[in-house]
Symmetry: C2
Subunit: 313 residues, 2 copies
C-alpha cells in the first residue's frame, strides 16, 4: 500500500502578465501545483480544496488522471472559483497583484475525507490560518508529519491563530522576510532558532532565486536555486517546491534531516521546471529522466574537493 499525502490548499484560475507574454485564465492554485509536483512520486495523494461550477472538468481530470484523489474537493454550485491576477515586473522577482477574487474560498470549511485523516504526511498550503487549523484538527492524530506554508499577510492580521497552527506542525516553510517578521530577528540563524521554539522541529527558509535554507536537529543545509537561462513565469514556484518536499517525505521510510535535504533538492528542481513555462505546463510535461538529470547536475553545482596543499595553508 502506498503512503498517503493529504494536501489542503487553493485551486484557482490565474491571469498572469510578464514582460514577455500574457495569459487570461489558466489553471493555478497552491494545492494544484503541490499535487502535480508530488504526483511525480509513488504515493497516494488526496486533495482538500474548494471550486466553483466554473471549474473546467478537463482541469479536474488533469489531476485525476495522475491518480490524485479529488473526493475532498468541494464543488459549490453557483459559485465561482478563486481567481488571482498579477503582473511580474522586468526582473521577474517582484510582482503586483492586480486582482484577487476569493469567491468560493470566502466561506470555505475544509472537510478531510475519512480515508485521508490518517495520512502519513499532511501538507497545508497557504490559506487563512483558521481554515488551516480546522483541517489540522480533523486529522486522526496519527499523522506522522505536518508541513505548513504561510505568508506575511496572515502574520499581519491573524497572528494568534497562525501561532496556534505553527505550534502543531513539524515543518514550516516561509520566505526570508517572513522568517524575520515572525521571529523579530534579522539573522536567519537566530530567526530559525526562535521559530523552532514556537513548535516546528524543522524550518525551511525560501529565498527565491537565491535558494533555500533548512534548519533542524542543530544542523543547517543550504541549497541554491537551480540556475536556468530564462524565467518565463514564476507563478507556482514556491508550491512546486513544497510539492517536491511533500512527495519525498510521503514516499520516505523515515523522515529525518537527510530526507528533508533531498526534499529541498527535488523541490528546487521541480520549481526550476515550473518557472520555465506558463502555469502548470512544465510540471505536466517533465519526465523522470529530466528530473533525475537536474538532480545530478545539482550535486556538481555545489560540490567541491580540497587538495592536500590547500588543506595545509
Amino acid at each position: 500500500m502506498k503512503n498517503k499525502l493529504l494536501v489542503v490548499g487553493t485551486m484557482a484560475y490565474d491571469a498572469i502578465e510578464t514582460p514577455f507574454d500574457k495569459v487570461d485564465r489558466i489553471l493555478g492554485g497552491a494545492a494544484t501545483y503541490i499535487a502535480l509536483a508530488s504526483s511525480k512520486f509513488d504515493i497516494d495523494c488526496g486533495l482538500v480544496s474548494v471550486i466553483g461550477d466554473d471549474f473546467e472538468d478537463s482541469d479536474l481530470k488533469i489531476l485525476q488522471d495522475l491518480d490524485v484523489d479529488t473526493t475532498g474537493v468541494e464543488l459549490v454550485e453557483g459559485g465561482k472559483s478563486f481567481f488571482w491576477s498579477g503582473r511580474y515586473h522586468d526582473n521577474m522577482n517582484s510582482r503586483t497583484t492586480l486582482d484577487t477574487q476569493l469567491n468560493v474560498l470566502e466561506n470555505f470549511t475544509p472537510n478531510v475525507p475519512n480515508h485521508y485523516r490518517n495520512a502519513e504526511v499532511m501538507m497545508i498550503g497557504n490559506l487563512h490560518p483558521g481554515v488551516q487549523l480546522t483541517a489540522l484538527n480533523q486529522m486522526s492524530g496519527k499523522s506522522k508529519f505536518v508541513i505548513l506554508d504561510t505568508m506575511n499577510f496572515w502574520m499581519d492580521h491573524f497572528l494568534e491563530t497562525l501561532n496556534e497552527v505553527i505550534a502543531k506542525v513539524d515543518l514550516i516553510t516561509i520566505n526570508d522576510e517572513e522568517a524575520r517578521q515572525l521571529s523579530g530577528e534579522h539573522s536567519l540563524v537566530k530567526a530559525a532558532e526562535k521559530i523552532h521554539a514556537m513548535g516546528p522541529k524543522y524550518v525551511i527558509i525560501k529565498k527565491g532565486e537565491h535558494g533555500a535554507m533548512l534548519f533542524g536537529e542543530g544542523r543547517i543545509f543550504i541549497a541554491p536555486a537551480f540556475p536556468i537561462e530564462q524565467v518565463v513565469d514564476p507563478t507556482g514556484a514556491g508550491d512546486s517546491f513544497a510539492g517536491g518536499i511533500s512527495g519525498i517525505l510521503s514516499n520516505a521510510d523515515k523522515i529525518d534531516f537527510e530526507t528533508l535535504k533531498m526534499g529541498i533538492i527535488y523541490g528546487s528542481v521541480l520549481a526550476s521546471f515550473t518557472v520555465e513555462q506558463f502555469g502548470v505546463k512544465a510540471l505536466l510535461d517533465v519526465t523522470s529522466d529530466s528530473i533525475n538529470d537536474r538532480i545530478e547536475q545539482f550535486r556538481t553545482l555545489t560540490s567541491f574537493e580540497w587538495n592536500e596543499k590547500q588543506k595545509n595553508i
Copy 2:
C-alpha cells in the same frame, strides 16, 4: 621560491556606524583586506597603493609583520590617506556613504615594483579603471592570471576604459546587480555568457548574504554565504572574499575551475570571519584551525546523498 601575488588597491581609514556600535577611524581599504586575507597562504604578496603621511606606522607594520611587501606603497608627504565613512542600516545589507575623501587617491599613478611585474597572480581591487589599466600595462606580460574587481560607479561613468580593462583579465568579480548592468541581461546565466564574451574566462557573481556563483569552462558552481549568528560590521567582506580567492590561486600549481571553486570557499570563509568583528580585527586574529574547521562545515552545509528509492521515482 614562493609564488607572487601583486595586489593593487586602496589603503584607507574608515569611520563606520552600525545599529550596535560606532568607530571613528580604523584601518581599511580594499588592498589592506585583500593582503591580510591572502597572507593566510604561503605566498609572496606585494602591495601597490598610496597613503598620506597621516598613515600610522603601526598600521603599515601590521602588513609588514605578515611579510606583505610594501615597497609599492607610495607615501605622499603632506597628503592625507583615503577616507571613507558609512552607516549600515538595521538589516546590515544596505548602507549609506556619509563621506568619501579621495585625498591622495585623487592623483594616484600606480608604479608596480620591478620584482612584482612578473607575479603569477595580479589582483586589481576596485579603483578608477584608468588606474587599473595603468597598473595592468606595467606587467611583464608573463602574469599568469589577472583578477579584476570593480563596481557600478565605474560602469556609469568610465565604461569605455573599464571595458578595456575587462578585455585583458582572466577573472572578474562583481555583484549580481552589476553583472546585470554590465551585460544588459537579467538572467545571471545569460549575463555571465555575455561577460565571458567581453574577455574574462571566469566570472564570479557576488550576492552578499546569498553567496556567490562561479561561471567558466561551460560550468557553474554556487556557494552559499557561510551562515553566522550575528554580523557586526560588513565592511571588507567583499575584499576578504577576493583575498581568499587571490591567495588560493597564487598558491596553486595550476589554475582551473576546481581551483577557483576552492578560492570561493576560502574567500567565503574568510569573509564570514571578517564580518563578525569591526574592521580587520577578525582577519588578524583568526587561526588556520578555525579556517579549516569552517571549510569542513561548509561541505556539510551543501552536500547531499540520494538513496536508491529516491532515485527510482
